[in-house]
Symmetry: C2
Subunit: 328 residues, 2 copies
């Protein structure tokens, strides 16, 4: 493409910052601006020359933006924003509430079809790249099992749960995949793994002054749904240690498909992510799908899509002929 793809960012937290960085790494893209519900003057972008505007300014900018990258949360932002924005813009989002994907898809699809826009939803890594691996694995090895392991990584939801416990001043939680379970899966044993056998949880907690450590630990490890089904360890650290050792947002995990193609012939397909920054990586996936969304929209392929519907070549800045020569 000779004309750059013009990108707008809606929402500017860690994910939005990651999208700003990622657009800067893609020479075929141009950042039109960041759009925020906060006071634009209060937002400091990574790069000083980025225009920050109010979300309400978007309406007048339909002709200036090819794709909006939505960087809000899945709980309350995206269920509203994705359909609303898709009724005027081609969009991508990283909606990640697995159980609600069908209804989110339906709402976005209706808006995008009515408006003649394209909307690619759930484009992060899970859902997203992990979903693609689950699909390829199952389609190629129909006789087998798929295993998804998460971590080692910081879980936002579980960290929030830890911080809500009385006596906790601050804290983080890491999800750790079981090496033993992964080894069984890789060996082709097709194990049936309980929740407790697949992952452990590791908490680092700063106590409120005078709080009872044992009571806090007990409240965490017995918390239903969040920690009770897992082997959970709690370590108490100082606020300084928390700031020094736990400021990053690492994550990742494994998708393993283990199957057989004839008696006793085992085949294993494994995909692994090791991410030093979860939001920056998720942002990079969003930006690659923004390129695909721009192309689908330009070719008149409208409505809601997921990564399952997007031909891989559309993610790359290279032409189909270049891709065949360089990467096939």
């Amino acid at each position: 493409m000779d004309t750059p793809i013009r990108i707008g960012i809606v929402g500017y937290g860690n994910l939005g910052r990651g999208v700003e960085r990622s657009v800067g790494l893609n020479p075929d893209m141009q950042l039109v601006g960041v759009f925020t519900r906060r006071d634009p003057a209060s937002v400091t972008t990574v790069s000083s020359d980025v225009s920050v505007r109010a979300v309400d300014d978007l309406e007048a900018m339909r002709a200036d933006i090819d794709v909006l990258v939505l960087c809000g949360g899945s709980k309350s932002d995206l269920p509203e924003q994705s359909p609303a924005m898709a009724s005027a813009f081609t969009i991508v989002d990283s909606f990640d509430t697995h159980a609600r994907i069908p209804e989110h898809f339906a709402a976005v699809d209706a808006a995008a079809r009515a408006a003649g826009t394209t909307a690619i939803i759930s484009t992060g890594w899970d859902p997203g790249l992990f979903s693609l691996q689950r699909l390829y694995g199952e389609a190629i090895l129909p006789q087998g099992e798929t295993y998804t392991f998460w971590g080692r990584g910081l879980s936002q939801g579980h960290s929030d749960a830890v911080r809500r416990v009385p006596g906790v001043a601050a804290g983080v939680q890491y999800t750790i995949p079981s090496e033993n379970a992964i080894a069984q899966v890789r060996a082709g044993d097709l194990p049936e793994l309980s929740t407790r056998e697949k992952h452990t949880r590791e908490c680092f907690v700063v106590l409120d002054e005078g709080a009872d450590a044992d009571a806090v630990r007990e409240a965490i490890v017995t918390m239903p749904d969040y920690f009770e089904p897992y082997d959970t360890t709690v370590q108490f650290i100082s606020a300084e240690e928390l700031a020094r050792d736990h400021a990053g947002v690492p994550h990742g995990g494994f998708v393993i498909r283990s199957g057989t193609t004839s008696a006793n012939t085992e085949q294993t397909v494994e995909f692994r992510l090791a991410l030093e920054s979860n939001p920056e990586f998720t942002a990079s996936v969003l930006v690659a799908y923004a390129r695909a969304a721009a192309r689908l929209a330009a070719s008149g392929d409208h409505g809601a899509k997921t990564p399952f519907d997007v031909a891989p070549g559309l993610l790359s800045p290279k032409s189909p002929a270049q891709l065949r020569a360089d990467l096939l």
Copy 2:
């Protein structure tokens, strides 16, 4: 789909046998028959109820077959067969001579467009699944390096080269990826790796009676292109040991994309295959792409395609709505 996808197999070696098995694992498919250039009476299929016919019978069977899976070799079979068959049938192949893919694509594309058929080429695992990983990795992490390692696996071409050495009665060659090189890549070191640093080669050789072991070893390890650029070991074994320990056709490897999304923030995407049967796995990939080819042909999307052009969802027997609910 309610009507099964009707599959024909052209060529019946290890790969064709793998396709026969794989079709049997996919309830939405039906095997019409095996088509061979040999005397059909001389071909024994895995399952006794498979019809075996002459390739020449194909011409009269256009209405009975949805997709032909071409199982010939890339050196001399597919360059002729793929364009010829695409001029009458929707086809998939696993053409794997990387350097010749552009010309193969052009020849198949011309035939398929003229005939109104669909042809997906180069659908094994390298090219194929590994190519997809190279593409996703590069598109998502534009700032980084991609590394492909092969093995541990039996290399047909290198085994043939060993067997051509005077004094060699029989033998096999395994390609072994360097654990040390993989560790450097995983650590995000972005190493520049020489050919010798990435892989080693391991040969198991049965000598002709009276052959000079040292001369054979020297002839192998100094063979230009095939072995000279690598650290190669040669072990001499008996014909019994060869038959007992080296009858399988294992293969696999790694594609690793290592990149950064901001200063010092490393992100690693790794894809690994561990295959106990290379031909059976390649066959399974061909069959999944045969499903996609049938759908593309039915929707009027004709011409040559590669895995880069095929939306992942087309490989699965599940509907788009099912895929979103189950796998996203």
